[in-house]
């Protein structure tokens, strides 16, 4: 007897690209604002970045309904943490929580490709990169989403990150200044927009440093 196949999928890919770069005392988190389905654009100014804590911002692309649900779960867990511990979650703590939350749905995953960016307890920039089921590692920079394959090689070239095989482990945060990193991110997105149909419209950039949070928007090609 042949198994009957579903004629609908519980998943959709709403596209988009996310990038984060860690600096010595800052972190840049960026994502484009296009939301698509199939070959259509649903909306041109949809934010993929969510503030999880004072020092943790998550950029997520993939299936938007799952991304929103994930953001909600993490926000509410953070609120509970604040009630219980009377303090904000640190970025590494949030990183672990995100990983556990994703793995919790290992057998019906959140179709979300996440990059978590923020400042660790020493004020240094930290970036964590994830797959859909929660594998994660701390890195100096990362890109996820539809344009990731276009951006990552470019960042590898520009940021000259030390080999992770070296011992003692060399710090992966970039020596670039904040302004240089922001400029690099803008270049990444305008390049990815040229070749990836799901990336474009505009890019939202969050810059986190000791003075607080700053937000920038840059227009991208709308075709």
């Amino acid at each position: 007897m042949t198994k009957e196949h579903a004629n609908w999928s519980p998943y959709d890919n709403n596209g988009g690209t996310c990038v984060a770069i860690a600096g010595a005392d800052y972190c840049v988190i960026a994502a484009d604002t296009r939301m698509s389905t199939g070959y259509s654009i649903l909306t041109r100014d949809y934010s993929k970045i969510s503030k999880l804590a004072d020092k943790s911002f998550m950029a997520s692309s993939g299936f938007q309904a799952d991304v929103k649900a994930l953001q909600k779960v993490l926000s509410s867990r953070h609120l509970i943490y604040q009630h219980q511990h009377n303090k904000q979650m640190s970025c590494p703590a949030m990183a672990q929580l995100l990983s556990n939350t994703l793995y919790y749905k290992r057998f019906f995953p959140y179709y979300a490709f996440n990059v978590l960016g923020g400042l660790d307890s020493e004020g240094k920039g930290c970036v964590f990169t994830y797959d859909a089921v929660g594998s994660y590692e701390r890195v100096g920079y990362s890109a996820q989403g539809s344009g990731a394959t276009l951006i990552t090689p470019f960042l590898d070239n520009q940021l000259k990150s030390p080999s992770p095989l070296l011992l003692p482990a060399k710090d992966a945060v970039t020596p670039l200044s904040e302004a240089e990193a922001v400029d690099l991110v803008k270049t990444c997105f305008s390049s990815a927009t040229e070749r990836d149909i799901y990336t474009g419209d505009s890019v939202e950039i969050i810059i986190l440093n000791a003075n607080g949070v700053r937000r920038e928007t840059e227009q991208l090609r709308k075709d």
């Binding site: 009957e4 519980p10 909306t43 309904a65 019906f108």
Partner: protein, 242 residues
């Protein structure tokens, strides 16, 4: 007997209820736009049963509470169930009797959770919904799909409307459209859909919601124009075709 019943189930086991596999009676596109004083929404009154246009007086635009308007495409029976959920939601909101009432943003969020939750159970409500309204002077227009994908924008559409109406709206929508201009714009989109969407019927309603309240127009028809040069001699560029 039992085995044929089991064939109709999607990844199911013994005690599972039936899950929606495909829609039966469906409504086609809904379009919504923000305009100067509030929200305008348009939908035709067709209920298709596959390729048959079975029902021609289906109201797909409905009021929700004091501040909101919902338009639905997709399975009509699922829309009717959603209206029952919304009825209960508004009832409980009114029973608090605290002078507060759910605005369009809250109703949209509720609908999003309902749709996503059903998708998680592999038993979706087979609809694409548009939710619009005005509360305390703030206009709101949002969309939810059957798998829970949701967003808000200045103009939204479901189904074929995304392909045929959104491009027109992207060119011609403005922040300060008057009511008359808004209706003309919606009619232009609906006419386009009439020409090209085979499940469209020429009987539509336009709904308007503002801070003052909601009105849903009486059903009416659009004038269509078949005297375009391309329609006169359609095969002139391709002799032998039809």
């Amino acid at each position: 007997m039992v085995s044929s019943q089991n064939e109709n189930r999607l990844l199911s086991s013994e005690g599972d209820s039936q899950r929606t596999q495909y829609p039966y009676v469906t409504g086609t596109s809904v379009i919504g736009i923000k305009y100067k004083d509030g929200i305008l929404m348009a939908a035709d009154m067709g209920g298709s049963y596959g390729s048959t246009i079975r029902y021609k007086s289906v109201e797909r635009l409905k009021q929700v509470g004091k501040h909101s308007l919902i338009g639905a495409s997709g399975e009509i029976s699922d829309f009717q169930e959603i209206l029952r959920y919304l009825d209960e939601l508004i009832l409980h909101d009114n029973m608090w009797d605290d002078g507060n009432s759910l605005g369009p943003k809250e109703v949209h969020n509720y609908l999003t959770r309902v749709m996503y939750n059903r998708r998680n159970k592999f038993d979706p409500l087979w609809n694409s919904l548009i939710l619009g309204g005005v509360k305390n002077g703030k206009k709101y227009l949002g969309s939810v799909s059957m798998i829970g994908v949701h967003f808000e924008d200045d103009h939204v559409a479901t189904g074929f409307g995304n392909h045929l109406a959104r491009p027109i709206l992207r060119e011609e929508w403005r922040e300060d459209l008057t009511f008359e201009e808004g209706v003309k714009l919606l009619e232009k989109c609906m006419r386009n859909l009439l020409y090209r969407d085979r499940s469209a019927v020429n009987k539509l309603q336009i709904a308007k919601i503002t801070e003052e309240g909601l009105t849903i127009s009486q059903p009416y028809s659009l004038k269509t124009f078949w005297n375009f040069a391309a329609f006169q001699n359609p095969t002139v560029g391709a002799e032998g075709s039809w």
